[in-house]
Symmetry: C2
């Protein structure tokens, strides 16, 4: 029996509520199904940790994480006390970058039991493949002058390698799905990198004649996520565009609180990291009403990653059943607590056996 | 009686259909209301022009436009024949940049007679103030290496002056409205420029203690445009974020085809330019079914700019009445042609007198 060693970083805010919930679910999955077991090791790295130690994680933090099979993360950020660019670049973005988690996978689908804010959501079901290692998120740049003459420059850096890798991942994924890839571009406004993005897309698609494609500027595409989300299958996007599109994906599902994500290391050198799309939501932290579904669906992506796709599918179906039966947190229009939703999911997993 | 000299650039695709429609409406406004008149001078600058002359406009194009009171533009782009970054940077973006049209104003509101794709659009009514001169849209950057080692770099350049100017414009505008400004940021991911953006926002807001503020990361904000658009009044955003948010604004209204925009020169040195948010839509061009409302609402923004706010308000009300009465193009679920919508608007303007 394979025992998966998992590093757990609840992080900040509601991360500290929804991560334990998702661990309960994973433990239940392991209890019920003989073939799998987990060992969880928790790390308190977070903004609280920063306030005590002046850094988001210890100097050997990455070294420590490196030997785990996966990292299971809640949310990072507490902007009242630590500026976001410090907390994120000191932990979340650092791990994504240093562990070469070059692909970020973010599914969105019409979810039974949720009220989508769209009048006609149809049965949408797409996955955004987000380039996760470069692009607009870069430390390259800086400032010059002070006061009224100050200038800040941000370099977006797109490599052929990184761009092509994300696109190939998207095409491969599309082959397991509906064989359609949409490219998120902005070659009409972003002068240097987006025409480059388009060229690489044209090159890569030549290798996948069996996959249909479309290409839209990010402004139009964001609008299409609202007006016709059911027309997408796999969407490949840069780091920033993927970030924006996936929050929109969460919104049209009915809550950002349910959107899951996986940061995938594709070369096998480092662990992958699983973390939901939502943030730490300091405003609702501590009330016991945080929606655990994003984190639990994220656990499903981790199961898939471990090759346990059947268990993953079962878990997703259970979450949807529970939601469809109205057992949901206030953000979804329900009255259940984090704990009640979690227990109901575990109960049904046990019952199903 | 003031005679306004207007340079008209229909541009490409449906621009050539909706601009004449909007001119008919403006002529009717002038006919009916004694105090105003227009002189229109048309320029054929477009992708067609490019294919004939190898450039989007003549070398002295800007010199020619410079002495007009305003530029009224349709849409630019025909990517099948001219790459977008050529056509746009050769005309639309060039005019915005060279004529120091540093602010882009884009209203969005719940529009009577439209079916918003949102189940609960409420009575939303906001204006996005988009920084229009710098930021992510820059010619600074380039490429190095070829083939598999190729790298493309895009510099986003934010100056204190440009950033502050957009923000002050937003705060001044908010004072004439509901006294609320939302800042679109991404200081948790975009390392250099967005923390700078936040600092400038904090500085500027100190001068407007009577205006309430909020600040959201672009990913969350895009989602909020879908989940609670009625909570926004004025939104200030960078060039790219403003671009994305305003297409979303169009989407939640029920059609990108109705969203208007104004590119404002604030120092009085050059004309301002009025152009709708939508593009040239080559796929529907020539069918006579393009929605003229974006262009006509844009004409209303031009009237406002000329100080004719009352006429502007009357025009907007007339458009809404016609839409509410079901006289609308297919993109809005109607069966009317461009011409029928336009004629009905003119007829009612005349009747109202
Ligand atoms: C055509 C394109 C360059 C332009 C932009 O991105 O500014 C358009 O999308 C707009 O919003 O006016
Ligand atoms: C917290 C932030 C840096 C992060 C991002 O922008 O990548 C988040 O929005 C996400 O999508 O995971």
């Amino acid at each position: 029996m394979k025992k998966w060693e998992i590093a757990v970083i609840p992080g900040d805010g509601i991360g500290k509520e929804v991560v334990p919930a998702a661990l309960d679910v994973l433990k239940t999955v392991a209890d019920v199904h003989g073939g799998i077991s987990f060992s969880f090791t928790e790390f308190p790295w977070s903004c609280d940790y920063y306030m005590e130690h002046g850094k988001m994680m210890p100097d050997d933090g990455l070294e420590t994480l490196r030997n785990f099979d996966a990292i299971f993360l809640g949310a990072v950020g507490n902007p009242k006390f630590v500026p976001d660019h410090i907390s994120l670049w000191g932990l979340l973005l650092k791990i994504r970058r240093e562990f070469e988690q070059v692909i970020n996978i973010r599914p969105a689908k019409y979810f039974r039991g949720l009220s989508s804010p769209l009048t006609e959501p149809r049965d949408f079901d797409f996955i955004v493949v987000r380039e996760n290692s470069e692009g607009e998120y870069s430390e390259v740049g800086g400032r010059i002058h002070r006061g009224e003459d100050e200038i800040a420059i941000q370099n977006a850096v797109f490599t052929r390698k990184g761009t092509e890798r994300a696109m190939r991942y998207a095409f491969e994924l599309a082959r397991k799905r509906k064989r359609h890839v949409t490219s998120a571009t902005k070659s009409n406004g972003i002068f240097h990198t987006m025409p480059f993005w388009d060229e690489v897309f044209a090159d890569v698609k030549r290798d996948y004649p069996d996959v249909a494609t479309a290409s839209y500027h990010i402004d139009a595409l964001a609008a299409f996520f609202v007006t016709r989300p059911h027309t997408f299958d796999v969407v490949v996007a840069s780091n920033l565009f993927g970030d924006i599109l996936t929050d929109l994906g969460g919104a049209i599902m009915g809550s950002i609180g349910i959107a899951p994500a996986a940061n995938i290391n594709v070369n096998g050198k480092y662990p992958s990291m699983f973390e939901p799309v939502h943030g730490s939501a300091p405003d609702i932290y501590g009330k016991g009403i945080a929606n655990p579904i994003g984190q639990i669906w994220t656990a499903k992506l981790m199961l898939d990653h471990f090759g346990e796709e059947e268990l993953g599918a079962l878990l997703l179906q259970t979450i949807e059943d529970v939601t469809a039966d109205g057992i949901k947190t206030p953000d979804l229009g329900g009255t259940a607590t984090t704990k009640e939703v979690t227990e109901e999911i575990c109960r049904r997993l046990r019952k199903r056996g």
